[in-house]
């Protein structure tokens, strides 16, 4: 068994609010994510899944426990730009055109001009939005904006992709289309993905493992292996096994509620 890409041991997070209140967002998280996996963090609101994602991405510090990403501390991994992040809102810079938005990480790393444009165009081709390179973000639909955000997250060829409910703001039909897009991109880039969602079908469809979390305090309830065949396509949703897995995950969530 190869050593895990992301390893969390005994991770906990406590938020202290005003008047000294303490919220235990996470407690005793033990998790391992291996290279090439697509892992979803699934759970109801308040179970700490976004918090956990941000701890892995070094946007929050854990109160207890040890985290390692690619054998380094999350801070080191962030500085080495080992991961790309896609947020709930596309978070595109509205004063830049689409191409400029995708090229942003390349500017930050100091890549020179002609190479930046070429690379950014490559990424836009990957998400099939090359002809919109000169548009402004507000001229694109929500789904398209998220595709741009995904392209941006992949420009530096990160080994890890962190995604925080990226399709949460989209309607159901667009969501399903985006999920298949994501599967295609994932096949091409072979990135490891840590994906936060509160949708059971989404988690089951996309992932190789689903980490079911339960709230108050946030902890890992179970890790469900999703051994559906790859690549995941439209027909996958109609397979019996898919429904079996949906039920399995749903049952875990139900037991946690009781």
């Amino acid at each position: 068994m190869t050593s895990p890409m992301v390893s969390l041991r005994g991770v906990g997070k406590v938020f202290s609010g005003r008047k000294g209140t303490r919220t235990v967002a996470l407690q005793g998280i033990d998790l391992e994510i291996h290279s090439g996996e697509f892992v979803s963090l699934l759970g109801p609101s308040g179970c700490g899944k976004s918090t956990l994602l941000r701890i892995v991405g070094d946007l929050l510090e854990p109160t207890t426990g040890a985290v390692s990403v690619n054998g380094k501390s999350p801070a080191r991994a962030r500085h080495d730009r080992d991961y790309g992040m896609v947020f709930q809102q596309a978070t595109l810079l509205e004063w830049r055109r689409v191409l400029g938005n995708v090229a942003l990480p390349l500017e930050v790393t100091g890549m020179s001009e002609p190479e930046r444009t070429e690379r950014a165009r490559e990424m836009l081709k990957l998400v099939e939005l090359l002809e919109f390179a000169d548009h402004y973000p507000w001229q694109l639909s929500g789904g398209m904006q998220q595709r741009v955000a995904i392209a941006r997250a992949l420009t530096l060829e990160p080994s890890l992709l962190l995604m925080d409910e990226p399709f949460g703001a989209l309607d159901e039909m667009t969501r399903e289309r985006m999920q298949m897009e994501l599967m295609r991109i994932w096949q091409e880039t072979q990135t490891t993905v840590l994906f936060v969602t509160h949708s059971i079908p989404e988690a089951v469809f996309l992932s190789t493992q689903v980490v079911v979390m339960s709230p108050r305090p946030g902890r890992v309830a179970a890790v469900v292996d999703i051994d559906l065949p790859q690549p995941r396509v439209f027909e996958t949703r109609e397979k019996t096994k898919y429904f079996d897995k949906l039920v399995e995950v749903r049952e875990v969530l139900r037991t946690e509620e009781e």
Binding site: S16, G17, R18, L59, L60, E61
Partner: protein, 287 residues
């Protein structure tokens, strides 16, 4: 690292604000006196630092308690206070009239889109003319029509007050979301009930923001209006007088300016205080 700072309780925040304000005042006072220390150092200074151009702060304060004129019993502070009162009355009159007009216009425009379309361009156009600039003329009209001087001056203040009140009344009355309006319709509330129970309460925070602006503006309008009018009793006159007689007492001009500034601040503070009493903290609109 993007963790948010813990929120500060509001009473502490008020104290902290006051403390910070005092610190800034102290720094400014220190800068003033510090600058004056450079006098005679031979450095080329943009503003002369001698006592005539920049009186010591203490001298300014002291002059308030001393007679305003040689041989007069009245202290400068008393004279300025009386002048401030005169100016204040004019400002309040203008503020009151202007706010009422603004409120009326705002209500009218929201009730009648026709009126809005016809009159709004005029309201906006009235603001493109530098109203304050017509101060000299306003005073002459008073003379021709034999109006007491304070009326056109208050009218000037009213002109400056009505626009922000109109704009904010409209914004406030229109601020409830379409969904809230739909709620009222769904329980078959009459239009006037919706107006009274939804829109008017919603408008209050916006109205008070505008009233604070109008308060400050009316003080400006009044002082400026007093300049060409030769109104003998107001702060504008005092400012001019102490400019003319600068050499016999530079501190007095500074004291007069101080009173003018304090007048404006006080008026706005009074409106803010009323706002505090009328509107609960959660609903105040940050200006």
């Amino acid at each position: 690292m993007v963790a948010a700072a813990p929120p500060i309780p509001s009473s502490f925040r008020g104290l902290r604000s006051l403390f910070g304000f005092l610190i800034v005042l102290l720094v400014l006072a220190g800068a003033w006196e510090g600058y004056k220390l450079l006098e005679g150092s031979g450095l080329p200074l943009p503003i002369r630092a001698d006592d005539r151009s920049m009186p010591h702060l203490w001298d300014i304060v002291r002059s308030i308690f001393e007679p305003a004129r040689r041989g007069s019993e009245e202290s400068l502070g008393w004279v300025l206070a009386k002048a401030s009162l005169v100016t204040f009355r004019e400002a309040v009159a203008g503020f009151g009239a202007g706010s009422l007009v603004g409120l009326g216009l705002g209500l009218l425009f929201v009730r009648s889109p026709l009126a809005e379309r016809g009159l709004m361009p005029w309201v906006i156009a009235s603001q493109t003319i530098p109203l304050l600039a017509i101060a000299p003329m306003v005073v002459l009209w008073a003379g021709k029509y034999r109006l007491p001087l304070w009326i056109p001056i208050a009218a000037l203040a009213a002109f400056l007050s009505f626009f922000p009140v109109t704009v904010n009344t409209i914004r406030g009355l229109r601020s409830p979301s379409p969904t809230s309006a739909e709620l009222f319709r769904s329980i078959a509330a009459s239009p006037s009930q919706e107006f009274r129970k939804l829109r008017i309460p919603a408008a209050f925070p916006y109205l008070f923001t505008a009233l604070k602006i109008a308060a400050g503006a009316s003080v400006v309008g009044t002082i400026v209006g007093e300049l060409p009018s030769g109104l003998p009793d107001g702060l504008g006159r005092q400012l001019l007088t102490f400019s003319y007689y600068y050499s016999s007492g530079p501190e007095k001009l500074y004291a007069a300016v101080l009173f003018a500034v304090l007048l404006g601040l006080t008026f706005v503070a009074v409106v803010a205080l009323i706002e505090r009493l009328v509107i609960p903290p959660a609903r105040r609109v940050a200006s």
